[in-house]
């Protein structure tokens, strides 16, 4: 059993029980990628040789009677900002294509390998993770498996498309302002953005140091939790990575939601969009959530995150912006050039506001355990679409897909994006938001919703 529909944990159980070898699973996944990726453009590199070598290692461990790991034989792939030994880390940029191959794996890749997972390749993204659509000028757009004319979301668009299209059951992405939650929403899958500092970013190409997170995508909550558990643990390579011991989520998923106080975010998060409203209402009704809560000044929080992102992101790339601005993706370039000129007063004020906002939001979490909010204002826009309607006004698509995610990652809250299908055809995500370090609470809620059939991540038709 290793069809496109098979979950990561089912694959691992099959491989561990020797009903199928990791090598057979890897070959089947490679065949699916060859057959279906041309329609999605999710992969920028397929690491076939490594996949077969890692799969053979898993099979050898099993033959020797050793524990092959919780994710034995599970095919996975990573956003192309994670270092893969022997592969150039693109971070979505043509400029980076000239850099030598990475000498070592990112911590997250090494941890999944230790758990027995098998790396299939690297995935498309917005240049330098600065975008919400993965319409990459250098490597082409990734397509949404549920409608190939639409965007997959971004910046981890390839990561979401590969899972929704059943190429692999598990991928990794990164989230600075919504780059896991936005593509999870638009591709109809589960995505986890943990607490800031929970998972190591060692060997992941940075964007905005004080906002960058990494996390997994999957089509089931159990797979998502299993990947999250395998990724946990301190790491000296990432100065922001917590020293807290791992807190595994998979063992507590079936505890249900009893005892968790669930609220609905109002104010900034109450959109005038029918799909987003319907999605939140569906999830809230299933959980019996009636209480509305407010994260105060969330619009200012989004603005502050926007400023810090522009300034920090631009500073990271200042040397190349000086030398070769014409080699950047036009969608990224002008924002970075302007970001480099952001007055210090604006950035410092934004950081000061961040402290105030964090205190207020933590007060909210003294009264509530889980807050629900839409992940995106709408379902996936069309590839090439420049403008959309938001709150009665016509606004640019690219910066506004993150309007509901940005105020939350701004203060590092853990969030699981869960997929809802309000109109049946195209998905939209709901953010299940927990207090800092309470990832397991968000995952318990997601699992309860999944078991009740309220949220689901079916593979796209035709894949």
């Amino acid at each position: 059993m290793s069809g496109a529909q098979t979950s990561a944990l089912e694959i691992a159980a099959t491989v561990r029980a020797r009903r199928m070898s990791a090598t057979e699973v890897a070959k089947a996944a490679l065949a699916r990628i060859r057959a279906n990726d041309p329609r999605l453009n999710a992969f920028t590199a397929v690491t076939e040789e490594r996949a077969l070598r890692e799969a053979a290692d898993v099979d050898a461990r099993i033959a020797r009677g050793e524990d092959p790991g919780a994710l034995a034989g599970v095919p996975y792939a990573v956003k192309n900002l994670f270092a893969i030994a022997g592969v150039t880390t693109l971070a979505g940029a043509r400029i980076e294509a000239e850099t030598p191959p990475a000498s070592a794996d990112a911590t997250a890749v090494a941890r999944l390998q230790s758990a027995g997972a098998v790396l299939m390749g690297a995935l498309n993204m917005d240049e330098y993770a600065y975008g919400f659509t993965t319409e990459n000028a250098h490597f082409g757009p990734s397509h949404n498996p549920h409608d190939l004319a639409r965007v997959a979301g971004g910046s981890s668009g390839g990561s979401a498309a590969a899972v929704a299209g059943g190429l692999v059951p598990l991928t990794l992405g990164s989230d600075t302002n919504g780059s896991i939650r936005v593509p999870a929403s638009l591709c109809g899958i589960f995505g986890l953005k943990p607490t800031y500092g929970r998972l190591s970013r060692g060997g992941a190409f940075p964007f905005v140091a004080s906002l960058d997170h990494i996390g997994p995508f999957a089509r089931s909550v159990r797979d998502l939790a299993a990947a999250y558990d395998a990724l946990q643990g301190p790491d000296a390579r990432d100065p922001a990575c917590t020293e807290r011991p791992a807190e595994p989520a998979l063992p507590v998923l079936d505890q249900g939601v009893a005892g968790l106080r669930v609220g609905i975010a109002r104010g900034h998060f109450l959109p005038e969009f029918a799909e987003a409203q319907a999605a939140v209402a569906t999830v809230a009704a299933a959980l019996g959530a009636m209480r509305e809560v407010e994260f105060p000044e969330a619009a200012r929080a989004r603005a502050a995150a926007f400023l810090i992102t522009a300034a920090e992101g631009a500073n990271l790339h200042l040397a190349t912006l000086r030398r070769r601005p014409g080699d950047f993706d036009p969608a990224t370039r002008d924002r970075l050039l302007a970001g480099a000129m952001t007055p210090a007063a604006w950035v410092l004020r934004a950081q000061q506001f961040r402290r105030w906002y964090r205190e207020r939001v933590l007060e909210v979490f003294r009264e509530i355990d889980i807050v629900l909010a839409p992940a995106t204002p709408c379902v996936a826009p069309l590839i090439g679409q420049e403008m959309m309607m938001l709150g009665g006004a016509e606004v640019a698509v690219r910066p506004n897909l993150g309007v509901f995610t940005q105020p939350l990652s701004f203060i590092g809250l853990p969030i699981c994006a869960v997929p809802v299908w309000p109109g049946g055809r195209l998905p939209i995500g709901v953010q299940v938001i927990a207090a800092p370090w309470r990832e397991a609470d968000a995952l318990r809620v997601a699992y309860t919703l999944e078991r009740a059939g309220v949220v689901s991540a079916p593979m796209a038709a035709g894949f």
């Binding site: 502050a304 400023l307 370039r333 002008d334 950081q351 000061q352 933590l362 370090w437």
Partner: protein, 60 residues
Amino acid sequence: MAKHRFDDYLDAAAALLRLPIAAEHRPGVLLNLERLAAMAALVEGAALDRETEPAPVFRS
């Protein structure tokens, strides 16, 4: 072409940062400076006291 309200700032900042802005990139950079200024105006509107120090570290 009418002078943009950030034309002078762009030129001064570009010189200070040694960050040349090509003519074809200039309209896009000005547009993005406008967006940043709008965001900054929002943040400036928040009432903060001087004891509110920045803290990008998160504890429960």
